[in-house]
Symmetry: C2
Subunit: 471 residues, 2 copies
């Protein structure tokens, strides 16, 4: 069913049409510059009517002058010239085209809409596969094609499709900074020829992609999208950020990608019925992707909350329950074990567990994970990883993070386990420390979140998805 | 009506009962240590039956041996001895007592409840004012009494009352790192003698406190609390984090401060009817406090969203509307001005405004604020302050934050204006930069938040409060 779009991600050669000789800021020239900086190992051909070379790369007068038919053409000529250039691509035997250029249906003008219609017609008649127009195109670290993200660009299990280059850039960098690689991403803009459904269909068949993340403003045929998404998410989680829920958002979407983003109620209902994971903002999106990428299925909604501080225990339990999780009583055996081992003063034995040593002593954390593993009331563990705030007068001590990671990984009966590391506020040193600790956990395969409410929401998504699609 | 509790915050002398000579970790000895490190200028008297001095401070055998009647006694003796020590305090003429010791009603034991009842009875009979038991007591930077927070400890307009020392420590440090001072805070623990209502009544009368923040697990007399809070919040915003909404949270609250935290539905309804600002977690609490402390009343719910990126504009508009704000069309005059000044390529003119120069050029940001000031559809401004992510291939440029702050402060018709600075993920350098930029804005009196949804929620609280209590 799905079209093979792999050549977009792994082109052996790329021609760039519409690349200026002057200052490198936007358009084809910037893409040429990125390709030269990236690890892309294929051949690159700037096309220019006069230039002998651009940025030190040999240039060609037109596509027919090239020594081969390029796998991919990146088109950055002015919008009015795009139909003509598409014809040239077809004439030269190019099949995969990325149209970077904007100025089509999203302008809201008759001429823009007509131009976009002609792009669609030419692609249909000549059998072109087109990503765009008005988009950043494909991203694929394995082939060094990380044109729109000078991020570490590691390969990984996440596949992203979206109608906003900036949103996808931000997501890719966010996940990359936590050590989670995006294996393939497609910024599809107006999605005139290949739409979100086509890209979803392709990614769904990709064995390297385990988790699908979508940012959609509108689909050409919503019914087709929902039909496919419903089928895909039985096999792989589809985490959807749908833009245009509000009238102001929908109007902006129309000016952004020319898509009618209205009918949010219908979208929302169809997606939920279909089992898609619906998120509302960038942070919730990234958090859910992290949880789905790193965690196995929980067997139930019961979270064991491990941390310290009576007030925080109360607030954290409330947050978990509010998100649809449960904070169940521990088994009798667990309670007896805790009563034996937890010092009475300044602690609360139960779930949540208020036990300050879990912050500082990896061995104690390991005991709690063993206890959770053996307790059938518990299905997940959420541990608060306090970092040294000035307000707590905490003594200097060695960073317990490496030992804690070992304790988690060494737990034989480990249930889905996450950490929360709060470093909010305006203290740069604390913020840096929090980011580093979260990254350490995530790179070790253990999700870490900046707050309990965010962790709880991510786990609730995970639990609901697996409850529905339990095998 | 309100009792004068100011001596708790500005004691001229403090006696500490239950201070060990050994290692300084908990209890009275740690408080003595903090007082010595803090800027507290009053006199300190450790009480010890044998010691001549403790931590280099002259010690006394009992309260009667002191050269004066201390303004405040901090009691850290074992729970069983507390009633006796309270009697000694009363005999010596001490009126203000802070009971640090835990082990009362929160233990759930008959003996613990009886001990707590005897504390209440002695206080009533002997006319003692008691903070606690089971709490960290008072915090007041102006008098150097920042015992439970080695935070910068600046004076400020925020008053905090709460039943968790750790929660209050974390809040105080969070706000302090953004340059927002907590003028007075009271960690009141079991709140046996003076309860949340008494502390609220006192802070409500304090002319230095403009914004009240409460963390409450339970009040001895909820009806009295709601009656007072309803009256207070006509004069000052009362921002309430209520612990124990969930059964698991309520059970933990009972083990934490001995309070029955149930009946959340009634609490919630009474608080909302009364006009309290109800928040759900630490971040929302801090965000709302920031907005209420720094911003004037908005005249309506209309937000002008200034930033860049079409997808982000869509998502940000959705987030504002979801929180109850509006993202109205701009006036015809504003639209004409924008069409003249905003480059067409890569921008979207409207609300949200997608205009990348607002990130980089303070003068352009100033123009947008002037435009918002003159546009009667707009009541607030939320500007996205992008910091240089690797994914955006942004050129090195001077930090626009100082110029942007000047532009905001120099805007003659400024409406309530906030910035959002996203630095989420696991990159320590980005996280540090984000925290520093947010702190710069906040220290200049301009709230800055880590995300648009958080900013939107804070502004929605602000708008609803002022709509209700408009003068």
């Amino acid at each position: 069913m799905a079209q093979d779009l792999s050549r977009f991600f792994e082109p052996r050669s790329i021609a760039i049409l519409g690349v200026s000789r002057g200052e490198v800021r936007f358009g084809g020239a910037s893409f040429l510059s990125y390709i030269r900086q990236s690890r892309y190992a294929g051949r690159v051909y700037p096309i220019h009517p006069q230039a002998e070379e651009i940025q030190g790369v040999k240039a060609y007068g037109d596509l027919k002058a090239l020594p081969e038919v390029p796998d991919l053409a990146i088109v950055s000529v002015p919008a009015a010239h795009v139909p003509g250039v598409l014809g040239q691509c077809a004439d030269a035997g190019v099949r995969h085209v990325h149209i970077l250029t904007a100025g089509f249906g999203e302008t809201g003008t008759v001429s823009g809409r007509r131009l976009e219609e002609s792009v669609a017609a030419i692609a249909r008649e000549r059998g072109l596969l087109v990503i765009g127009p008005n988009c950043m195109g494909a991203y694929c670290p394995r082939s060094g094609l990380t044109l729109w993200g000078a991020v570490p660009g590691e390969d990984g299990p996440v596949g992203v499709v979206g109608q906003s280059g900036a949103v996808l850039q931000r997501l890719t960098e966010h996940l990359g900074s936590l050590g989670l690689g995006v294996g393939k991403a497609a910024s599809i803009g107006n999605a005139t020829v290949l739409d979100a459904t086509d890209w979803l269909a392709f990614m769904a068949e990709d064995p390297g992609i385990r988790v699908l993340a979508l940012y959609v403003e509108g689909a050409g045929n919503p019914r087709r999208f929902h039909h496919l998404a419903r089928e895909v998410c039985r096999r792989k989680p589809v985490i959807l950020l749908k833009g245009g829920e509000s009238p102001a958002g929908a109007a902006t979407a129309s000016s952004h990608t020319g898509r009618m983003a209205g009918g949010h109620g219908l979208w929302d209902a169809a997606c939920r019925q279909g089992g898609l994971v619906m998120v509302r903002d960038m942070d919730e999106w990234a958090d859910a992707i992290l949880a789905f990428s790193l965690l196995p299925a929980p067997a139930g909604p019961g979270v064991f909350l491990v941390g310290g501080g009576g007030g925080h225990s109360v607030i954290h339990a409330d947050a978990c329950v509010r998100e649809g999780l449960e904070v169940p009583p521990l088994s009798r055996a667990s309670m007896e074990a805790l009563r034996r081992s937890v010092p009475r003063a300044g602690s609360i034995v139960g779930n949540p567990l208020d036990h300050w040593l879990t912050f500082a002593d990896p061995a104690v954390m390991g005991q709690m994970l063993d206890l959770a593993g053996a307790d059938s009331n518990v299905h997940m563990v959420m541990a608060d990883r306090l970092i040294g705030r000035k307000a707590f007068h905490m003594p200097e001590m060695p960073d317990p993070t490496p030992g804690t990671i070992e304790a988690v990984k060494g737990c034989p009966e480990r249930k889905p386990t996450v950490f929360t590391v709060d470093s909010d506020g305006g203290d740069p040193a604390l913020a840096a420390q929090g980011a580093a600790v979260r990254a350490s956990f995530c790179r070790a395969g253990i999700p870490a979140f900046p707050s309990v409410p965010r962790a709880a929401r991510a786990l609730a998504h995970l639990w609901r998805y697996h409850r529905r699609f339990a095998t």
